[in-house]
Every structure is written in C-alpha cells, then in structure tokens.
C-alpha cells in the first residue's frame, strides 16, 4: 500500500474512533444513564426530563466544547512549532496563557480588594467577566509579542521574550494572590483547574464560531507553513513575506489560545503533544495534511481526556488540566523514543 492509502485508512479509522468517543462522552458521567435512555433523548423521543437535561444541557455542550478546544489548542501548537522550528514550542510558551491568568487574577482579586464592586454582581459581566478578563490578558500579551516580533529577526529571541513575559505575568499573578483574601482566590482556583463545562449552551455558539474562524484561517496558512519549513532564506526567495507571515501565524495561534483559555482555563499539553502524535501517525510534515489531521486528533484526544476526567468511579470531575498532561506526557516520550 502506498503511504497515501495507509493514511486514508488511518483517517477513516480515526473518524470512527472520534464518533465513538463522542457517544461515550454523552454516555459516561457521575449519573448512570442507560444506552436506551440516551438513544431516546438523542432521537427526541419523550424521556425522563432529568436524563434529557443531563445529556442535552450538560454533557452535549461539554463534548462540543472539548472538540473545539482540542482542535484549537492543537493547531495553535502546530503553528508555533513550525514557526519557531522548535519541537517544544506550544501556545503557552509565548506567555499567552499566563497573560490570560493575569487578566483573571486582576479582575477577581482587584475587585475583592477594592470591595463593593465585585465582578459577579455586574449583571451581564457575571457571565462574561472571567472569560473577558482572560481574553483581555491574553490579547495584551499577544500584542506585546507581536510588537517584539516586528523588532527582532531571530525567532529564538522571540521565544525567550515570550518566556520572560510568561514569568512576569505569572509572578504578578502570584503577588496579587498573596495580597488577597482567602475567599477571593476561590474563582482563580476554579478557573486554573481548567474545565470544559464552563462554556455551557448559552455561550457555545459564540465559542464555536470564534474558534471555527481561527481554524479556517490556519487551513489557509498550510501552504505558507510548508514554505517556512524550508527556512527563512528559501521562503524569501520563493516570494513569501516572512515577517508578515510570521505575524499572521502568531496572531492565529494566539487568538485560538486566548479564546480557549478564556473559557476553559489554561489547558496544558494538548498544544505540545498533539502535533507530535499526528506527525508520527501520518508520517508527514506536509501542512496541507498536518493542519486538518492535527485538528482531528486534537479533538479526539480532548474527548478522551474529558471521558477520563468524568469517569463514574471518580467522585467529582478531575481538573481537565491534570488529565491532559497525564495522557500527553507519556505519549510524547514514546513518540520521541520511537523516532530514534
């Protein structure tokens, strides 16, 4: 069989796996729901209202969130790894996640300190507040990085700047936590654990549309990403505006990370691990194949992590952040060892 044919059969298998994991996501949780009940609910038949609520209003939006978040973070990671030609690059490296964390810390902890104007009391802000703050923090860092990227030519320098911004934002967050009341740290703890359940039905439309936009943009970049792989000089010779292209890539990657982090909290590891897994499975570095397959595998691993986080034996949901690293780290080690 040629590589192409193998890839197509792998692809079909993966899509089936994805559908299976999606159904398991709807089936598994702390409340046991028999398959027949699930089937009734999904077919719109008359069923127990509790089961319907749990499946349609809780598990379904969570599974859809997992799909979008997984795809977004994984593509963001791929873009970073290609742009920086660094296998360890991931969206959190540029300080975008820490920036989001700082945004959340500012809004939660400062309102606590100022008193009398708690965020959760500001009507519409109560829903959007934390997400908006995270997005603002992430965007601010993204703008900073873009500003630096037009001044420094060397991508390694930019990574170092990103890491430093990340440390800065992290330490500012810690300082703020240090000066806050114990009760005010609550919201920060919740956000920091990461969760796919925070999006919910009401915000799902906005969440999925914003991410779809970013995903499409990254699909259009596939060709340019291939050219970048050849090195800046070659890319220049082929008529690619390397600087403008880099800015686009950072913008897309940062945008996707910012949205996911804003709604789901900082979710580690998917961005780093999925591109490696995908390259290993499809044995290619062609971004026309990699970008869509990274999305697909990102979705699947994310769905799998969500199932593990909500296993019936585990009382309460595990923080998704813990599960992604638990799954991701061994996979990356294994992939790297197999490569040698």
């Amino acid at each position: 069989m040629t590589r192409n044919k193998i890839n197509i059969s792998i692809l079909i298998a993966i899509i089936f796996l994805g559908i299976l994991l999606f159904i398991i996501n709807l089936l598994v949780g702390s409340v046991a729901i028999p398959f027949t009940d699930l089937f009734d609910v999904l077919c719109g038949k008359k069923s127990n209202p509790t089961v319907a609520t749990i499946v349609l209003d809780y598990r379904l939006p969570q599974a859809v969130t997992a799909i979008y978040a997984g795809a977004a973070l994984s593509v963001a990671g791929l873009l970073m790894q290609t742009l920086f030609r660094n296998p360890l690059a991931d969206p959190s490296m540029l300080g975008i996640s820490s920036g989001a964390g700082l945004g959340v810390a500012i809004i939660i902890l400062m309102t606590g300190v100022l008193g009398g104007s708690a965020l959760s009391t500001m009507g519409i802000w109560s829903n959007l507040g934390v997400s908006l703050a995270a997005f603002a923090g992430a965007t601010l860092v993204l703008m900073l990085i873009l500003g630096f990227s037009s001044r420094v030519r060397n991508m390694t320098t930019l990574i170092i700047i990103g890491l430093m911004i990340s440390y800065l934002a992290g330490s500012m967050t810690d300082i703020m936590k240090f000066f806050s009341m114990k009760e005010d740290i609550h919201a920060f703890v919740i956000w920091g654990m990461g969760s796919y359940s925070a999006v919910g039905t009401s915000k799902l439309m906005f969440f999925s549309t914003s991410i779809t936009l970013g995903l499409f943009a990254s699909l259009f970049m596939s060709k340019n990403l291939n050219i970048l792989l050849l090195g800046d000089l070659y890319a220049d010779n082929l008529g690619l505006n390397v600087k403008r292209n880099s800015i686009f890539i950072i913008l897309i990657s940062g945008y996707l990370t910012a949205i996911v982090t804003a709604y789901c909290g900082p979710i580690a590891f998917l961005g780093l691990a999925i591109p490696h897994m995908t390259r290993f499975i499809f044995k290619t570095s062609d971004h026309r194949i990699l970008v869509p397959t990274v999305m697909l595998i990102g979705m699947i691993v994310s769905l799998l992590c969500n199932i593990i986080a909500r296993m019936p034996g585990l009382e309460g949901n595990l923080p998704i952040n813990a599960v992604t690293a638990f799954i991701g780290a061994p996979v990356v080690i294994w992939v790297i060892l197999r490569k040698r």
Binding site: I54, T111, L119, S120, M181, E183, H186
Partner: protein
C-alpha cells in the same frame, strides 16, 4: 369616536383586571428599615408581609430579593415576576456546613438532599446519612458535580457566593432557586449567628430560630457587659502559619470582636480588615512574642502537644504564650467547630472569658467548662 372606544376598552380592561385582583389581591410591600427583623447581620434583611416574608440578601454591591410564601397561599399578582420560595422547602442542597447544621439543629435534615465536601465534616449523623445515600455528596465548592446535582431535583440551592464565581448555571440546569448565603462576610459574631434565621424561615420554623437567637443575644450581651469594665486586658494573638505563611484574623473580623468582648487585647486590633491578614514571620514575632494567649485551631486528626508543635516549627518556643503553656486550642474534629461554633457565639465568648477573666463567669455561667477552646496543658 376613537376616544369613546378607547375609554370603553380601558373600562372593560380595568373591570376585568379588578376581577383578578379580587381573587389574588396585591400585597403591599413595606421595606421600611424599622420593620426589618434582622438586628446584627449586615448582609440580609427580613421584612414581614401579610402572607409571608420578603428576604433580601446582599452580597457586596448586589442585592437579591426572595419572597417566602407558605405553600398554602396563592401568589399575589404583583409578585408573579419575583423569585418565590415556597415554605417549608421540601428539598434543598446546602453548599456550606454552616447551612446544613441549622437544618440539622432544627430537626429538618431530611430536607437536605445534597451537601458539598462531606469528607471534611466529622459530624457522624451527616456521615451516616451520606453513607446510606439519604444525602448525596455533590463535590467540592471549586468543582461542583453538576450531574449529581441535577439528579437530586432540589427546589433550592443554598450557595456561598465568591467574587468571580458564577453558580447560576447550576440553578438553570437543575431548575432550583439559587439562594446566596454570604454568612462568612459578617464581621459581628452575633451577625454570623443571625443567619440561622434564614434557615428558620426556609423550614417554616422562624419562631424557633428567633427564640434561639434572642437567647444567644441575651447571653452574649450579658457576658460582654461584664467584660466591658475590665481594665487589665491580656494580650492575645491567633493562628499557626500554614506552609510558613501566617494568616491572622483582621482587626475588624468577628474573631477580633470576640477577643475584645471577652476582655482581651488582640494585638492586631487596629487593623481595618474584616477578612484575614497575610503577615510575615518577622512581624508576627515582633508583635506577638510577648502576647499572653495564643488561639490555635487544630484541623489535624491527631491532638496537639507542645513537643510536637516545637518539632514542626522552631520559632514557636520563642513565643511567651508557648513557653508559659497558654495555647488555647480548638480541636475541629472533636468539637465540630466549623459547622457549629458560628451559631454559638455566646459559648465562644464564654470560652475566652474562662481563660482571660475566669472570675467574671458567675450566675448561670458558674462551673462553666470551655466547649471549643481549651488550654493545651501538655
């Protein structure tokens, strides 16, 4: 002509609406401060209505209103778009132990279908109900298990609000009314205790909790009156460091108030915070080294001894209260401190008076033995 038709229509409309009014007449809402049935708590107010109560809960700058009506009366017209809670409530989920402990004290624990963090309580009755499946543990306050909560179909969810945390989706998903319960924000010990009235209203047993509360106030005030004339006040400080960080109660916190009312001199009394203060070890040593008493909460499963504490932190023996064995220790496991002490401020006060000024415990307090805070002797 148009005018006549208009008048005619409005007349018909008014007649028809009058008809409805006669069935379910509007009720007048008088929220004059003088009618507020709450005297110490600052974060809730209760106003009597002709057919129930209006409960106002404040959390920082927000305010939520609830109308508590007995399930036998019909809802008046002018309240149809308000948040109505039918009393007595049939099923509730209580996020905090300070909520379910009042249900328990009222003999209404069967109304509580779900609680959080049952692994933190040492209350054997509750643990047994959890083990028998009568009460479901629905997770942690940082990670509520929405599925289990929905599955309980509660009418009411009593939650502790925190800045930036949005619990409203739990109400939407489960169909329950969300009742905010920011009791921890009260800075007066009697204000904290007064929150029992909210649970009393919910259970339709407001007369019981009113009576309890009045008794508490009477006892608390008679004790604090005795201490108010004291000139010689022993100095006191509070809490052990957690992972080498010292958090101590602010100068305007309810603990500071109890120290003052017990005739003690809290070393951070001039601080303006109602929450907890973060203080570095050097400042603690500087201010607290010569303090006479040291209030300590023991959340561990094993009892404290001076020897064990000394092994934990070599700074401890530098404190006068440690050297003179004047640690006032509360064993959380044994006393149920976190769920019960909030509703016994008079007992807490008596505990400290017992140590600060034992001679003042007279009449009904004679032969008193401390319930929560005992001096650590060994």
């Amino acid at each position: 002509m148009k005018k006549i038709i208009l008048i005619l229509f409005s007349a018909i409309y008014m007649m028809s609406s009058c008809d409805v009014v006669s069935k379910k007449s509007d009720i007048s809402e008088n929220t004059n401060d003088a009618l507020n049935l709450v005297s110490y708590a600052e974060n809730f107010e209760i106003y009597p209505l002709e057919i129930g109560y209006k409960l106002v809960i404040k959390y920082l700058s927000s305010q939520n209103e609830y109308y508590l009506l007995s399930d036998t009366v019909s809802i008046p017209n002018n309240l149809t778009d308000k948040t109505i809670i039918r009393t007595p409530v049939k099923s509730a989920v209580a996020f905090s132990s300070t909520q379910w402990s009042v249900f328990q004290k009222l003999g209404e624990i069967d109304k509580v279908k779900g609680i959080l963090e049952s692994n933190y309580t040492k209350n054997e009755d509750i643990l047994e109900l959890v083990a028998r499946g009568k009460i479901t543990d629905v997770g942690m306050s940082t990670n509520v298990n929405a599925e289990k909560l929905i599955n309980l179909h509660p009418d009411l969810i009593l939650y502790t609000p925190y800045s930036g945390v949005d619990f409203s989706h739990l109400g939407r998903l489960s169909g329950a009314t969300m009742l905010s319960f920011p009791d921890y924000l009260e800075s007066h010990p009697l204000g904290r205790a007064e929150w029992m009235k909210v649970v009393g209203l919910l259970c339709g047993k407001e007369e019981v909790t009113n009576k309890w509360f009045d008794d508490i106030v009477r006892r608390y005030e008679s004790l604090s009156d005795k201490c108010s004339k004291i000139e010689d006040k022993p100095t006191v400080f509070s809490d052990l460091p957690f992972e080498n960080q010292w958090y101590v109660p602010g100068g305007k916190s309810y603990i500071a108030k109890i120290f003052a009312d017990a005739g003690g001199d809290y070393i951070w009394k001039d601080n303006e915070s109602t929450g907890s203060l973060h203080i570095d070890a050097e400042s603690v040593l500087l201010k607290a080294q010569q303090a006479d008493f040291w209030r300590v909460i023991n959340s561990y499963d094993t009892p404290f001894t001076y020897e064990r504490l000394e092994k934990e932190n070599e700074l401890y023996p530098l404190f006068k209260a440690f050297e003179e064995k004047q640690l006032l220790v509360c064993d959380v496991r044994e006393t149920g401190y976190f769920e019960k002490s909030q509703y016994e401020p008079d007992i807490l006060l008596a505990d400290f008076i017992y140590h600060f000024h034992p001679e003042l415990l007279t009449n009904e307090w004679e032969n008193y033995t401390p319930k929560y805070f005992k001096r650590l002797v060994k």
